[in-house]
Point group: C2
């Protein structure tokens, strides 16, 4: 199956998805962004057309991939011209029905990964969650997603939002803890590099053992001596509070498991 695909949005998710879909033999036909320079930058990778005028979006593509900020999506949907083809968005927390006022065949194609400009991503193992407004659309999206990933899941909006919430904890919040750890050691002229083997092993461990079973550290045994010493070392009151609420939560979870 070779599809003609139009991207509405040109950020990290759009860029990585466009590369994967192009690599799977589809044609990136056009890129829309409200910033023309951004539309051009992504379009040029695929010799695609580009525009910053929603009215100029081509109406004959097979798939319209909306990858814009959550807040902006409803506005863009109402401005869209009538088109053939399927409309999908890539957002974790936006219900499929954002398209209901205007779409005919629509759905969601949500790749569960953190995308940065600096890193290339192997899509084949990324879980891609799809949803369609009817069984034909769902089947179409399953096929599209299977072209880029071996890990395709049909997941309704009501479930997807919880998956996205879990991803915020497992990725965004986790990365912030790395940043707080970096701040703590770098303030002492200790390089962040020293923490890298620990970070790698902590992630590798939960590939095999459940995170509940993998928990170690002073909070799990509620070692008050260590915890008191630690909070005394933290200069920032907000970070001190993070230390406390996470330690309490670890201890509470460990007690529940006994």
């Amino acid at each position: 199956m070779s599809l003609s695909i139009i991207f509405i949005g040109s950020g990290n998710v759009a860029t990585h998805l466009a590369q994967a879909l192009h690599g799977a033999g589809n044609r990136i036909a056009q890129v829309y962004s409200r910033t023309l320079k951004n539309a051009k930058a992504l379009a040029d990778k695929f010799s695609a057309a580009y525009t910053d005028n929603i009215g100029e979006i081509d109406r004959t593509a097979d798939l319209y991939l909306f990858s814009v900020k959550d807040d902006v999506l409803p506005d863009i949907v109402v401005q869209m011209p009538r088109t053939s083809g399927v409309w999908v968005h890539t957002a974790g927390s936006v219900p499929m029905d954002v398209f209901a006022p205007r779409g005919r065949n629509y759905g969601v194609l949500y790749p569960l990964q953190t995308f940065s400009k600096e890193r290339s991503i192997n899509f084949s193992e990324i879980p891609v969650c799809v949803e369609g407004n009817d069984s034909e659309t769902e089947k179409f999206l399953r096929t599209v997603a299977s072209g880029i990933s071996g890990n395709v899941n049909v997941l309704p909006s009501e479930k997807r939002k919880y998956l996205h919430l879990g991803a915020v904890f497992a990725c965004n919040f986790t990365n912030h803890l790395y940043a707080l750890a970096a701040e703590i050691v770098e303030n002492q002229q200790i390089p962040f590099d020293m923490l890298k083997p620990l970070i790698a092993e902590t992630a590798a461990k939960v590939m095999e053992i459940s995170p509940q079973a993998a928990q170690t550290g002073p909070a799990v045994r509620f070692d008050e001596t260590v915890m008191r010493k630690h909070t005394e070392l933290i200069g920032n009151e907000k970070t001190k509070n993070i230390y406390s609420v996470l330690s309490e939560s670890i201890y509470r979870t460990a007690k529940k498991m006994q």
Copy 2:
């Protein structure tokens, strides 16, 4: 250099260190634990002697490795018989001077890693931090550590405690976020497996990019719509609070960087 080594303590850290030191050509001579069964279990791996009586600890070893709970260590130190050899502990947050009342040559050998019974560890890349009460002891401990790791660092107690604090954020707290993420998705019958590629990539990313630069998600752009939706999905008030304090901290950090 082949040393005769006695372990005081038989937990995860002791077990992994004993295996690494044995693998480097040293002799595990004896294991002490207040629980005889545990002492025997570790000792039997190396055909070593074992005891649950501190008075029976052999006095002629080259190295005494104390790997016990922080709170217990001072008590054990005062009960120790006079021995030849160097005394070291493996704790992140205990000053070297815990040995001062009794030790002659003493120090610290702190491997920065999370150890579990279920996983074997390749010591060669683990940062090992050493400290000695005089330059001869420090040199001895550098040599011992170099036998098991290519990443040996001399780090005083005053710095080591900050490294340990950083490790709590980068490992213990991070793992707990994995556990909260697992709880959130599993409550919706979504398998934790779906989050694993994201967890792996989040960790892999900071091997190359600083965690400050790698930050993504709704909090970094303070996307209040998504954040409000998310907090509404969280049933547990304590977890809701964790969501709020971490989101605020992410946003505050991002603003500081601008």
